[in-house]
């Protein structure tokens, strides 16, 4: 019903609208021109209504509605009388309004129409009220909004008329007052009003318009002034006359004008316009005191004038109004041409252009035309002087004559063209109508375009949606994928508890489960950890001792635990033996999270096995957990630790281990680094384990708080918050709250119980906020650098010790291989070699030593920074100091409330480095002999240290024994020379592309 109502009336209504408007316009125009008599217009208006009724393809219901409304109107004599009164008052615009108002009201009275309106979402009484209100009331435009939203026939009719009588090209314009019918759009009026406001002030009353469309605004204003339109300008300004003076002229009259202004203060105003501040600034430079002399007030003009560009402006704009349901295309067509008529206020576009040409020709380059907006000249394109009419006789004399002449000529030309335009081009004197009639020539085309565009839009939308949904699907798939994998791994867990039964069966299952992991490992290396974790839980949890051992062994074949050295493995066994002893009796627990490491000893060993060497810290943690367990019933069950000191990896590793052991899976670990540094240092990516929840600032739409709360609500977890000294106030609040109450609330205020969760917070500070820098000053290798180490391929460079005065056989070779280096030190070295062909490699060595030293000192410089990163990230201004002060005091409070403080000692990188070097030298010695010298780039050492830090000593030892040794052997084959070798290990930063830089211990050494 509704749709049929809509579809049919659309076209007819549109036509009707058009016609009504045409008549309305012509009436008004003719009145304006004083061409038409009152009776003529009266005749025409009813005829317009008749036209409407005669429209052929009107649906019955609409026809009835219109007829009824007509009848209504006829039945209301006061409407007609009102209408006539209005007419006799000769104010054309209201006449149209009144008439339309009556029509609309009567239409609205119709129950059917009001139902249509009701269905369209607005009450007809609202509309009636709006219609009955004074014309410049704005409810009409509210209605416009509704109409655009609901695309119903009636409102457009309503609006067309409003808009038509408004003669505007934009909604924004349609909102302007009716008192101002021929002036530009509302923004122009607004600007004019503001100009006026400035002008009536006592001080700073000469506005300088600044903005890209300042000249438009100025023109608008001037037109307002010339037309003496009331209602926009303050009363005393209405009688202004305007004189246009160009900048060139002004140059001579700057002083003069200033004097004038002083003399005739209150009667003379100066308005300037400049496109941009830069231009104004230039002007200021030229006349530094002008702002004061001329009493200028800068007025930013920000709304764009609607410029006429192209012969028929903005077909796109037409399109924009078409969609108002197809039927609405006419108003749109009408509107867009009006944008041209706006600028060319009185003339039509064509005439205007010609006029402009003439004017510019006239002005001969000295004058820039008034309407040639956005002048490209580097100066304010023109300055204009407005003056009170009383001064007409005085001021012009003082302004240069030619200026006056020209402006007069221009005015003449403009007038001439106005006349031409009016008489020749159109029957109706006011071109606006013509342009809108022009617009009618293609109402259908845009409509189809629109339809197409809409389709496109729609398809775009849908494709967007599908895209989004598909990505969602993808992620879901992925999630489900990994979860199935995890199910598999957890099924392993499920198997093992069964193993309490016969041994033979155990073995079967175990072998099965042993195979599975390996297969899985092949599939996705990322799953290593979950599997490990499962094995770990098997290890430490419970169940039959034999199954544990065998599973561990099986698994360790495929994927050694993180800290696999030989010792750890032994430890595992040792631990398992313990396990057996401890748990052989108590096999009751299947659930890992119920795993109560009632025996601190066992927990300790399990932890040490994973964490390695951080005995004291582990001890403390274990003790605290044990303490808590003994008085479990009375306490909340959440545990709070603060890990202090450096050794980030150690802290993290302990967190991972705790999570795996106590909660069964690494999925229960929530990691957040509150420093939000580029969290992906290389080693981080290596160490970040698949399956653990790590907050990344790039996780979009979620704050840390929400992230943590969300994960906590899923299950008890280990929350690992790094660098809490950098927590923002929000996080600080939540943490304090959680420590105190055991409830963690997210930003929406939802609270999550943190019972059974463990909060591990870390600070790089030692107790009391003292940084470690003092203690570390002597270390060569800082943790930060190690963690940043990249896994470059390692290259071996071989030179001959030129102490023996042998020719440098390999100098060129060295030279060549150096090419790849981006390191500036080596660049300079190459230069050395280049200039000084026979430089001894010792020079080289010295260089590198220096380099080494340099980097050492660099490291030293860097060290304090590590301890006081706050001052790094927060520039040392008072503002941020207070922030960090705040956080410091908060930190102290927070630490007071925490269960246990655990201090991590710095990892002994120097010792380790010495050991690695020693190992390498031994290795070289074994292969080549004593005469060889080994030089190692600090980067290589750092890389090896990082490997050690991450993977344990054993790996690096193995690497030295296998890979490096092989490298030495190869080198020896190449240079069978038994002279003194100089072997140098460098990392190839430039040529790393073919090998993944992920490998800290490259599989082979590049030699050439």
């Amino acid at each position: 019903m509704v749709s049929s109502l809509l579809s049919i009336p659309n076209s007819s209504l549109r036509e009707a609208c058009t016609r009504t408007r045409n008549n309305a316009y012509s009436t008004r125009v003719q009145l304006k021109a004083l061409d038409l008599s009152l009776s003529v217009s009266l005749d025409r208006l009813p005829s317009s209504r008749a036209n409407k009724v005669d429209e052929p393809p009107v649906s019955n219901s609409l026809m009835a509605a219109i007829k009824r409304s007509q009848a209504n109107q006829r039945r209301q004599p006061e409407n007609f009388s009102f209408y006539q009164q209005q007419y006799s008052s000769c104010s054309s615009v209201p006449v149209v309004k009144v008439e339309l108002r009556n029509l609309i009201i009567s239409i609205l009275d119709d129950p059917l129409v009001s139902r249509v309106f009701g269905e369209a979402g607005f009450r007809s009484c609202d509309i009636k009220i709006a219609t009955l209100r004074p014309v410049n009331n704005f409810h009409g435009h509210h209605l416009f909004g509704y109409s655009s939203r609901y695309k119903r026939p009636q409102p457009p009719l309503f609006l067309c008329n409003f808009n038509a009588s408004d003669s505007t090209n934009e909604i924004s314009m349609s909102s302007k007052g009716f008192s101002f019918p021929f002036m530009g759009g509302y923004p122009g009026e607004e600007n004019s009003r503001r100009i006026g406001e400035i002008m009536v002030r006592d001080k700073k009353k000469n506005p300088l318009l600044l903005g890209v469309s300042a000249s438009d605004a100025l023109r608008c204003f001037l037109e307002t002034v010339q037309k003496k339109v009331e209602g926009v300008l303050p009363g005393r300004l209405v009688q202004l006359n305007a004189i246009c003076v160009e900048d060139e002229v002004l140059r001579y009259v700057v002083g003069e004008v200033g004097r004038l202004l002083q003399i005739h203060a209150g009667k003379l105003w100066l308005i300037g316009a400049a496109t941009t501040y830069e231009i104004y600034y230039k002007f200021l430079n030229k006349y530094p005191s002008i702002e004061k002399d001329w009493d200028l007030e800068i007025l930013p003009i920000t709304s764009l004038g609607f410029s006429t560009e192209g012969s028929f402006p903005r077909s796109s704009l037409m399109e924009s109004f078409v969609p108002l349901g197809g039927f609405f295309s006419t108003p749109s067509d009408m509107k867009s041409p009006l944008s041209s008529s706006y600028l060319n206020v009185v003339r039509c576009h064509l005439c205007n252009e010609k006029c402009e040409q003439e004017v510019t020709a006239l002005s001969n380059g000295v004058f820039t035309d008034l309407s040639a907006e956005k002048n490209q000249s580097s100066f304010p394109s023109w300055m204009q002087m407005t003056e009170h009419s009383a001064l007409n006789g005085v001021a012009p004399l003082k302004v240069k004559d030619d200026g006056m002449l020209l402006s007069a000529k221009i005015a003449g030309v403009q007038r001439k063209w106005d006349g031409i335009c009016q008489s020749h081009h159109y029957n109706q004197p006011i071109p606006k109508i013509n342009s809108h009639q022009l617009g009618f020539q293609f109402p259908c085309v845009p409509a189809t375009q629109v339809a197409e565009e809409r389709k496109e839009n729609a398809s775009n939308d849908s494709s967007n949606h599908t895209y989004a949904s598909s990505t969602e699907c993808g992620s879901k798939n992925r999630v489900s994928f990994s979860s199935t994998d995890l199910v598999q791994s957890s099924s392993l867990k499920a198997y093992s508890p069964l193993d309490v039964l016969p041994k033979a069966k155990n073995l079967n299952i175990l072998s099965g489960s042993g195979e599975k992991p390996s297969a899985l490992e092949d599939e996705s290396s990322g799953l290593k950890r979950p599997l490990k974790s499962s094995s770990a839980s098997i290890n430490n949890g419970h169940t039959s001792p034999t199954s544990i051992t065998s599973v561990t062994r099986d698994l360790s074949l495929h994927m050694p635990p993180p800290s696999t050295g030989r010792e750890p493995e032994k430890l595992v066994d040792q631990c398992l033996v313990d396990c057996i002893q401890e748990f052989s009796g108590s096999l009751s627990t299947d659930n890992h999270s119920d795993f109560n490491p009632k025996d601190p000893k066992m927990l300790y060993k399990a932890l040490i096995e994973r964490v390695g060497q951080r005995e004291e810290a582990v001890q403390l943690v274990v003790e605290t957990i044990a303490q808590r367990q003994t008085k479990n019933s009375s306490c909340r069950g959440d545990l709070w630790f603060n890990f202090q000191g450096p050794d980030r990896l150690g802290k993290k590793r302990l967190a991972v281990a705790l999570c795996e052991i106590l909660y069964g899976s690494i999925e229960s670990l929530i990691c957040v680094d509150l420093s939000f540094q580029d969290a992906t240092t290389h080693t981080d990516t290596l160490f970040n384990l698949h399956g653990m929840n790590t907050y990344d600032v790039k996780i979009r739409g979620k704050t840390v708080i929400d992230y943590v709360a969300e994960n906590l609500s899923k299950k008890p977890s280990v929350v690992f918050l790094e660098n809490i000294e950098k927590a923002d106030p929000v996080i600080q609040n939540r943490l304090s709250h959680a420590v105190n109450t055991g409830r963690f609330s997210d930003l929406q205020g939802r609270e999550v119980n943190v019972r059974n969760s463990i909060f591990l917070t870390t600070t790089t500070f030692m107790e009391g906020g003292q940084s470690l820098s003092s203690g570390q000053e002597t270390t060569k290798y800082s943790e930060g650098n190690i963690l940043r180490a990249k896994g470059w391929p390692i290259q071996m460079l071989i030179g001959i010790d030129l102490n023996n005065d042998l020719t440098c056989q390999n100098a060129s070779h060295l030279d060549g291989t150096d090419k790849g280096f981006s390191n500036p030190i080596f660049m300079s070295k190459r230069k050395l070699i280049g200039t000084d062909g026979r430089t001894s490699p010792w020079g080289d060595l010295e260089m590198t030593k220096r380099a080494h030293k340099a980097s050492n000192s660099f490291l030293d410089l860097n060290l304090p920074a590590e301890g006081s990163e706050i001052s790094d990230t927060f520039p040392a201004e008072s503002d941020c100091c207070s922030i960090s002060e705040n956080s410091r005091s908060w930190l102290e409070d927070f630490i007071q409330q925490i269960d246990k403080m655990v201090v991590f000692k710095p990892y002994d990188f120097d010792g380790l480095a010495d050991k690695i070097l020693k190992d390498m030298k031994e290795c070289l010695f074994k292969v080549v002999g004593t005469d060889c010298l080994l030089e190692t780039e600090p980067e290589v050492i750092e890389q090896l240290l990082a490997a050690t830090y991450l993977k344990g000593c054993g790996k690096v030892e193995d690497w030295i024994q296998n890979v490096l040794k092989q490298g030495f052997i190869d080198a020896r084959k190449k240079f069978s020379h038994n002279a003194c070798f100089l072997v140098k290990l460098v990392s190839c930063k430039g040529i790393a592309q073919e090998e993944t830089p992920q490998v800290l211990l490259p599989a082979r050494i590049i030699t050439n």
């Binding site: 410049n136 704005f138 435009h141 509210h142 909004g145 655009s148 939203r149 934009e170 909604i171 924004s172 909102s175 302007k176 923004p187 600007n191 903005g211 890209v212 300042a214 941009t276 501040y277 830069e278 600034y281 800068i298 930013p300 920000t302 709304s303 764009l304 609607f306 903005r314 796109s316 704009l317 399109e319 924009s320 109004f321 969609p323 108002l324 565009e453 809409r454 839009n457 729609a458 939308d461 967007n464 989004a468 939000f676 600032v697 790039k698 979009r700 739409g701 979620k702 704050t703 840390v704 923002d728 106030p729 609040n733 930003l747 990230t873 520039p875 201004e877 503002d879 941020c880 922030i883």
Partner: protein, 266 residues
């Protein structure tokens, strides 16, 4: 005017700090857009929140189509609010259209602002001869067209585009606030915004500014940030956020809060 305006625009003052921070939301949102950001500043600032008159949370009857025909009326509102609250100095964070409003307000009353932080700001959205604002007139018109044709469909298409489709929650939030706006007001305001051109007046800004620009912003190309930096009259810095979307306060609140804190301390 004063008190009723405060009520009409839902002005709220939160927080216990000494310094005053104004958070002004952008087009299509309301002050709730700051809800993730707000908590970060409650301790150190008194935060002034208000709705632009065009926001969906403001009674549409307050929207005077006669008055709000240029950004200056919005500037009036802002200054009225600050005056009514007795604010003498404040830092101002403005997103999108509010960034423009902030620029204009700081031109009119430079003494009022210690700092402007402009998120997703653009002095002019339309391309011009030697200016790349990111939109052609035609594109804009087709946007308006789509808006008029089917507001709901437009919102559903625009929201993920503006926010980034990967953050469903933020997209929902943005869609909600967009929907809250009455379509005619939305259209009206967006026309005002797209018809604004602040390029000429940027030089008048003497207040130090921080421009926060996301790596991919459908509304504001990178060149605009550079343009702003080069043309703003005060000491100006540009901070890049390595996230996408025009509404980082919805899509990457943590990152933005950090950046704001840095910018405010600078």
């Amino acid at each position: 005017m004063g008190q009723s305006l405060l009520e009409a625009l839902n002005v709220r003052v939160e927080g216990s700090g000494k310094k005053i921070l104004v958070l002004a939301h952008g087009f299509g949102t309301d002050q709730s857009a700051w809800k993730h950001i707000l908590p970060f500043f409650l301790r150190d600032y008194r935060v002034v929140l208000y709705d632009l008159v065009c926001a969906g949370s403001v009674n549409p009857d307050s929207f005077n189509f006669r008055r709000y025909t240029s950004l200056d009326a919005y500037v009036d509102d802002l200054l009225h609010i600050l005056d009514a609250l007795g604010v003498e100095r404040c830092a101002y964070v403005g997103h999108s259209v509010s960034a423009m409003i902030g620029i204009l307000a700081s031109i009119r009353r430079p003494e009022l602002f210690t700092k402007l932080i402009l998120i997703g700001a653009s002095p002019r959205f339309l391309n011009d001869r030697d200016y790349h604002g990111g939109f052609e007139q035609r594109e804009i018109e087709s946007v308006f067209l789509a808006m008029e044709a089917n507001y709901e469909a437009w919102v559903n298409g625009f929201a993920p585009l503006a926010v980034g489709a990967d953050v469903p929650a933020a997209v929902r939030e943005f869609s909600r606030t967009l929907f809250n706006m009455r379509p005619d007001i939305t259209l009206f305001v967006s026309r005002i915004v797209f018809n604004s051109d602040l390029r000429g007046v940027l030089g008048l800004v003497k207040v130090p500014c921080s421009i926060i620009q996301t790596a991919r912003d459908v509304s504001v190309p990178m060149s605009v940030a550079t343009y702003l930096k080069n043309h703003l009259g005060g000491r100006t810095t540009v901070h890049m956020l390595d996230v996408e979307g025009h509404l980082p306060h919805l899509s990457a609140p943590n990152l933005l809060a950090e950046e704001l804190r840095l910018a405010l301390s600078r």
